[in-house]
């Protein structure tokens, strides 16, 4: 048990060692700085306030896009999983949007809506909705028909059915969609910021890309990775534990 808990740390230490070896071999901060060379740069960006400004801008966009994509994708997936007719109508759309490159949607949103916050969030949301819908649709197809019948016989209200019958069954699918969703969304947000915003981690990466400053690119990228790890540990994992506590009882 103790050894199992250590494995993730050992695994990360292995990755860090690889980085150190590669940095020592290249021996050029312009190409690959050593991990400890990022510390002073991180402190410099944090104390100037630049890091927090851009981090906050990206987090707000991720939250908006994540909330919208999860809400719309869950509704769409649930309706498609419960109604064969609706699924027949909407499935071809889903396939089209699933196979539409993220970059195309981002460029189209910027062209049609303009270089605005709304366009950025719409582009990210539209990129993620189909993935969420596909996962939730599978969950909706796996809903227990006997529990449906029970809820109908006892005339449970729509709200009670959703809260106590449907969503608990969908919880593992929602957790899976949320986990993959949040990981993909922040990457797309960076592309959106890279292409058309004047704030955010993506904008800063664009800036330091033009200056060929690998160290600063890594500082901003790792800052957001740290945020995402906190989201995983403080939000997603506790939610999953709460949702499956009846299984562990």
């Amino acid at each position: 048990m103790q050894a199992t808990r250590l494995i993730p740390f050992l695994s990360l230490a292995g990755l860090l060692s690889l980085w150190v070896v590669a940095a020592v071999l290249t021996d050029d901060i312009q190409i690959l700085p050593k991990p400890w060379q990022l510390g002073p740069l991180f402190l410099q960006e944090a104390s100037s306030g630049e890091l927090w400004t851009h981090l906050f801008a990206t987090i707000v966009r991720v939250l908006w896009a994540f909330g919208l994509a999860m809400t719309l994708g869950t509704i769409l997936g649930l309706v498609m999983g419960r109604s064969a007719r609706t699924n027949a109508w909407l499935d071809p759309w889903l396939v089209v949007f699933l196979n539409l490159p993220a970059l195309v949607l981002i460029v189209l949103c910027y062209l049609w809506i303009g270089l605005t916050e709304a366009a950025a969030i719409t582009a990210v949301t539209l990129n993620k909705v189909p993935n969420v819908a596909v996962v939730i649709r599978e969950g909706a197809r796996a809903l227990d028909p006997d529990l449906d019948a029970m809820a109908r016989v006892y005339r449970m209200s729509w709200r009670a059915q959703m809260q106590h019958v449907i969503f608990p069954q969908l919880a593992p699918f929602i957790a899976a969609a949320a986990r993959s969703g949040v990981a993909v969304i922040w990457k797309i947000v960076l592309v959106v910021e890279f292409l058309g915003r004047s704030s955010g981690i993506g904008f800063q990466i664009h800036l330091y890309f033009q200056l060929f400053d690998v160290a600063m690119v890594l500082v901003y990228a790792f800052s957001f990775i740290c945020v995402m790890l906190l989201v995983e540990w403080l939000l997603l994992q506790p939610f999953e534990r709460h949702a499956r506590r009846w299984r562990d009882a």
Binding site: H164, V165, R247, A249
Partner: protein, 198 residues
Amino acid sequence: MIRVDITSKRFAGIPVLGAIRFEIAPGETLALVGPSGVGKSTLLRILAGIDAAFDGRIERPDSLAFVFQEPTLLPWRSVLQNVLLPHPQLSPQRAREMLAQSGLEGKDDLFPRQLSLGQQRRLSLARAFAGAPDLLIMDEPFVSLDEDTADRMLTLTEELIARHRPATLFVTHDMREADRLADRILRLDARADGARLA
């Protein structure tokens, strides 16, 4: 009075039930027997309003309860919540009394999977009776229980029916169960144009 008047019920064009007519008086208990696969559960689902795709007419009260073949509980909600959620008008105190009557005293906070199958079936019964239904429908409620547990469940069901007096229709393969619980026994026989009452 509950009135069942089914003309026909088909699955993918194949007749399952033919013309079936019967009535259940308030407080009366009817057993429905017949060979496996003849359509007994289908008839119960039609009576409960779960299956609306049939030709005919059903007169039933609004207040009904269904005890399924499997306990069909919400595994992610506690024992107490499993009784309360289908009956939001019920007080927690009344729900606890119902659990106590069903031999589940002190189990309020457990999850269903922490109960034995026999206890899960008791919980299913407690949930059914908690709403004081005018019509109780049970689909082989004692199946796959060992003899002792089935006998205790039968006694509990007898007591609850005697106390609450709902009109009851239940399916069974066991004639002893039918004789013990039922005022009348209906037999469903297979026919080429759909099952009918003997």
